[in-house]
Amino acid sequence: MDTTQLLKGVLDVAVLAVLDDEDGYGYDVVRRLRAAGLDEVGDASVYGTLRRLYSAGALTSYVVPSDEGPHRKYYGINKQGKATLAESGKTWLAFADTMGSLLAASTGSEGRR
């Protein structure tokens, strides 16, 4: 199955989780998502997601001047973002759990039971 389809549903949670660790600017978030294993995440998708989450009030934003390069727009998670992350995280974990047991029952019956 194409991972990009799966990513669409969970990119919000993934971005929030990354920012929950530490504030970051767009490309930084992209790199950290990829480093975490989400290789197929698209740059534009991450930028768009950041923008949408910010518009929805889940993120704060501030500009950090830099000496060697252009100023960067950093995003940070706020209280509402944390609440969303907790909620969505729970939903995701429950979902993943369900999927896990569903798949284990059909494909790995001989392996586990």
């Binding site: 740059d43 534009a44 998708s45 991450v46 930028y47 518009s55 252009p70 960067r72």
Partner: protein, 330 residues
């Protein structure tokens, strides 16, 4: 601003950004600039890594823009993306603005009124046909055009309203819809002429009567019972006609009959040699002799003497208080 000031942007990055910008052209300018600003930083950074071309790394600018829209929850661009489509998309956004939506709802609520109005216009056209000799609007029933008879006009109007409302309530095929739009435009254009026609026929059949006092502009001359006075004859208490009686109004101004200067009238001069126009009666000169033919000429009537006044011609004026001119109002 925040980009391109410290690091010179590569041509490739600029071209890429321009194409993304073009694909986002339908967005509000502020939002578009904001997106491009952030994207500029991003593209600069990737270009600086220099591992592969931007397109290989990020996909085509159009794909990038589409992905950005989708993930940011922005409306997708209309297919095509040419200037026409961009204009259409912008127009669509204007139409979706709140005030515009409110206005559309307001006028939407007025649609039934328009259905009635357009039916009236169509029937009212009958009243505008040239060469009509009889009145074309019914007198007894206002706003109803006469179609043969006023009653028939009313029935036709009623039928037209029903048809128009039914037409308005129906969902129509695109072709029929276009025909109805044409009908609407035509009716809207003809609304004014029909109203004018109604107004004109109404004016022709009713006469406005105004009552009450009418201001009459001041006029020259002296009037008696609504007729201009041309000459004045004065009689004393004994009933004898007086000559060269000088008359003044309540303010001491010489009484003026307002007549134009007349050469055939005998001119009267005062002691200072000034012409006197308030000495009555006026006398007219005989054109052949240049003289007053009959100084005693007067209207044909006899003035009876006043009571208590001696009929004798020798009566001293001082003994008769009543007719004395000094008793007259100033």
């Amino acid at each position: 601003m925040t980009t391109g000031t410290t690091v010179a942007r590569s041509q490739e990055a600029q071209a890429y950004l321009d194409r993304v910008g073009a694909a986002l052209a339908d967005l509000p300018e502020e939002e578009r600039a904001d997106l491009l600003d952030e994207l500029g930083t991003h593209v600069d950074e990737i270009a600086a890594e220099g591992t592969s071309s931007l397109e290989a790394r990020l996909g085509s600018p159009e794909e990038y823009a589409a992905e950005l829209r989708a993930s940011a929850g922005l409306p997708p661009a209309l297919s095509g993306g040419g200037p026409g489509a961009r204009l259409l998309s912008r127009l669509q956004r204007v139409v979706q603005r709140r005030q515009v939506v409110v206005a559309r709802e307001f006028f939407g609520a007025l649609r039934p009124a328009w259905w009635v109005a357009r039916a009236w216009v169509v029937v009212g056209l009958v009243a505008m046909f040239p060469g009509q000799t009889t009145p074309t609007w019914a007198d007894a029933i206002p706003f109803v055009p006469r179609v043969g008879t006023p009653l028939l006009g009313l029935l036709v109007l009623f039928a037209a309203v029903v048809a128009s409302v039914q037409l308005g309530r129906r969902r129509l095929s695109p072709r029929a819809g276009a025909a109805v739009v044409a009908l609407n435009v035509g009716a809207a254009l003809l609304l004014l002429p029909v109203l004018v026609s109604l107004g004109e026929s109404t004016n022709a059949r009713y006469v406005y009567v105004t009552s009450g006092r009418r201001e009459v502009p001041p006029q020259e001359g002296v009037y008696s019972a609504g007729r201009q006075v041309w000459n004045i004859y004065a009689y004393d208490a004994a009933g004898r006609m007086l000559h060269d009686v000088r008359l003044y109004d309540q303010k001491g101004n010489p009484l003026s009959l307002g007549l134009a200067f007349d050469k055939t009238r005998q001119q009267t001069l005062d002691a200072a040699g000034q012409r006197v126009d308030n000495a009555f009666p006026y006398r007219y000169l005989d054109p052949t002799t240049g003289q007053v033919a009959n100084p005693e000429a007067a209207p044909l009537f006899a003035v009876p003497p006043l009571l208590g006044v001696p009929a004798a011609s020798a009566a001293p004026p001082a003994a008769t208080p009543a007719p004395s001119p000094t008793h007259a109002k100033q």
